[in-house]
Amino acid sequence: MTPPQGTVLLEAQHVTQRFRLPNGQELEALRDVSLTVREHEVVALVGPSGCGKSTLLRMFAGLARPGEGKVLYRGQPLDGVLAASAMVFQSFALLPWLTVVENVAMGLEARGVDGVARRDAVARAINLVGLDGFEQAYPKELSGGMKQRVGFARALAVAPEILLMDEPFGALDPLTTENMRSQVIDLWRDPATGVNTLVIVTHSVEEAVFLAGRIIVFGSNPGHVREELVNTLPYPRQERSPDFNVMVERLHAILTATLLPEPVPAAPQRLLPFPRVHVSEVTGLLDHLLTLPDGKGHVFELAEDLGVDYDRMSAVVRAAEQLGWVTTPGEVVQLTGAGRDVMAMDDAERKDATRARLLKQPLFGRLVAMLKESEGVVEDEEVLADLTIYFPFIPVESLFRTVVEWGRYAELLDHDPDAGRLGLLGWEGGTTAEARAE
């Protein structure tokens, strides 16, 4: 496939970004990310949540500065907000006390558009997104889709060269989304809008394939570029056409490789973080797999069936896999014998089985060892400090909550939130839950 042509508009060079959580832990959001956006391109940034794609978008807009590395526009380092760009936000970010017209006009004054010219620009933008008749409405009177149209109109009113979109359809219903996606492409292809380059952050594989000419897949912990996929399907694209489906499959495969890496037969003492999912989500997955022929399903179809995004789905699958209840050959999730067994058990047996499985997890094993060393009780602080050392890229407080939830469910751990202490259940001077289970 030929590499994309055209002038380089935006360029990220070896961008690394760290930030500090309120608990003092330092997280790396992006590590050594390099990326270019060329004129007349539509670029989609996809990847799991927390991979830094939105951070990168804010850097392109000039809203954030990279900690290390550079962000360039036409070869010049960005200084402040990039005037050649406009942005559309997932939460719309409309000022509730301004009317539609006033919201749309927000960016015009700073660009020196005044008087009649301003009125014309606003009218044109409102007309482009089909909001005529709603000029004097306040945002609270509009539906979600209409609000996002105002968001688009506000961006289009300044006739930006680059339109940056941060999950623009994330808060909208599927029908509205479908309709607005095609309109975005129309806007991009319409020379009258002035917009010639789009950068979109999205969670949806179909959306990325439908819109983008180039799809950048991000990996997380810390955020980095995993792969680039060039999409040469001609516009306007037909969803569900064979070519489109092939493209979706390819992106699925890349994402699966990113989200569900083949388990590395690594040294057993290496600590793996436990995916931050709830017990009920894993049992829900197993329950659903039981209803499928052969107890298997495609991870993206599972996500669709269960109504969660693929990012969440793959975390649930990883948890089930770590517990040995499913395997993941390629993009397929396959229920294992142990998984079938555990679903056939009654509640108490299931808890016992889960406890046995958890104890095989290096993370829980280490925790139990720690608890035994200190007479069955440790302070939360101590555990958190320990986790921070092992998992510098994961917010450890939420990991801790997950560990507590699973430990409580399996009747392995006891947590006293008032005293801030974690206890080992069944610890009476040597007789542990483990011993009882055997």
């Binding site: 804010r58 807009a61 809203l63 907000v81 005037a83 760009s85 406009a86 942005m87 936000f89 997932q90 939460s91 719309f92 970010a93 409309l94 000022l95 509730p96 006390w97 301004l98 927000m106 960016g107 004054e109 700073a110 660009r111 609270k140 506000r154 300044v158 939130p417 008032d418």
Partner: protein
Amino acid sequence: MKPLRLPPRFGLADVAILCLVGGVIATVVAFAREFEAPFVQAIQIDLRPTALPWYTLYSLSRGVVALVISYLFALGFGWAAARSRMAERLLLPMLDILQSIPVLGFLPGLVLGLMSLFPTRNVGLELAAIVMIFTAQAWNLALSFYSSLKSLPQPLRDACKVAGWPPGRTFRELEVPAGAQGLVWNGMLSMAGGWFFLMVNEAFRLGDHDYRLPGIGSYMSVALDQGNVRAMALAIGAMVAMIVCVDQLLWRPLVVWVEKFRLDETPGGGPRPSSWVLEFLRHAHLPRHAARYQQRAYRSARRATRTLELPFRAVGPVLVRAPRLALEHPLARKIGTALLVMALAAGAAWGAWHLWLLLGQLKWTDWGALLAAAALTFVRVMGSVILSTAWALPAGVFVGRSPRVARTLQPVIQVVASFPAPMLFPLVILLFERIGVGLGLGAVALMVLAGQWYILFNVISAIAAIPQQLKDASAAFRLPRWSRWRALYLPAALPALITGWVTAAGGAWNGSIVAEYIEAGGRLRITRGLGSLISEATAHANFPLLAGGIALMSLVVVSWNRLVWRSMMGWAQARFGLEQ
């Protein structure tokens, strides 16, 4: 330019507006004249009823001026604290201390300082009164604006940046509107708080000096001195009338109007608040025309001054950018920070040194007396908190659990609570004497008057905020009355109750200064306590003792807040907070 001509349709509302504007202008002129008047000791207060409206307007003007200053302070403070991490670290603890120390104790120093600046005019005394009202109004406004800035969603900020709004415009059109609701509601509370020391602010003795300002507070205190019952009743009536008018003409319309600036789109349950005044004004034509005239005038002014602007355009960016660039340089920033910290430290050291010199004049016996007095007042404060809780908790639950009752009673309670309790102190004490209760116990009742409303308001709002589903659940499972209290109302009210205790105790400490030392019916009554010690030190111009008293009271209040209330609050929030 077109001549200004009256709009074609001219209604009753327009007449009302014109009358109001005229009244405001007249008041401002009269007040300014009062400001400029030569200073006279113990001016005569005219007790005739015809003089009372003017006195009321004078007092109101002081409150309004102080409120305007408080708003300016709150905007500046909130902005700085939300913008800069360093300012935040410095300003928040400062505010926390400022709002919990007894400001009344600083009145003598303030008056003397300002009087020495303007020895011949009334300005000094007026400014002192206004600053004292300001210290009762400003802190909660500042905290409210700060917290609404901190909770502003990042995308909204980003949207303004992407639109290329300069900081000034973002402030005017994003940050202030986003904080408007909090600013108005807290302004209402602040205004009420500002009246608390009305009588002391307008009439107090320092040694052999008698300082008086014309106003409703001094009217009341003269009436009390002379035992003139009719004048007392008139003063109380005028105060109530003023509070009701301000509530109806200013706060209600504002509360309804700021609904527009709500950030979350789900309106709170029940019908929206309404204001007959705002409805009435919305029928007026004048404001709309005024807006157009103003716009036209602004535009032509801009056009006229455009030539003058050119040099500024050229120099402006340099003037604005240079300091900004300088500030962005890490070394310059460090130096600036260091200078600022040093200046602050020097100021603090200077203050501490002078305080030390003053306190050094106190003998050991004085300290003993101070500590004993503090213990006595402490017991009274706690007693008043317990007493207030005993009635305000059940009453608050009763009012808060039914939206209908809350809706009808809330405005009434607000007006009642705005009434400055110290105005009633002498009357209450005279009543107590008749039934044989001395000031030692009576002071506790007075301190209840000073602090009870905070508890009531906090409980009402906490109970009203209980999710309907929880109330439904306790009804569906037919919880008996006592279990319903134990399982639902008390835990739900507890975090707010503790917040109420903090403020009520603060109010009681402040109130002790006027509650333990009361002049009524021409006779002075004193009961031992830290408050009366401070009042006596003021009356005898005993500055070392005054400084010692204030320092001790501040210390007790701040450390009790830090050590007891705060840990209780943290515990209650974690254990009984309703957000999950």
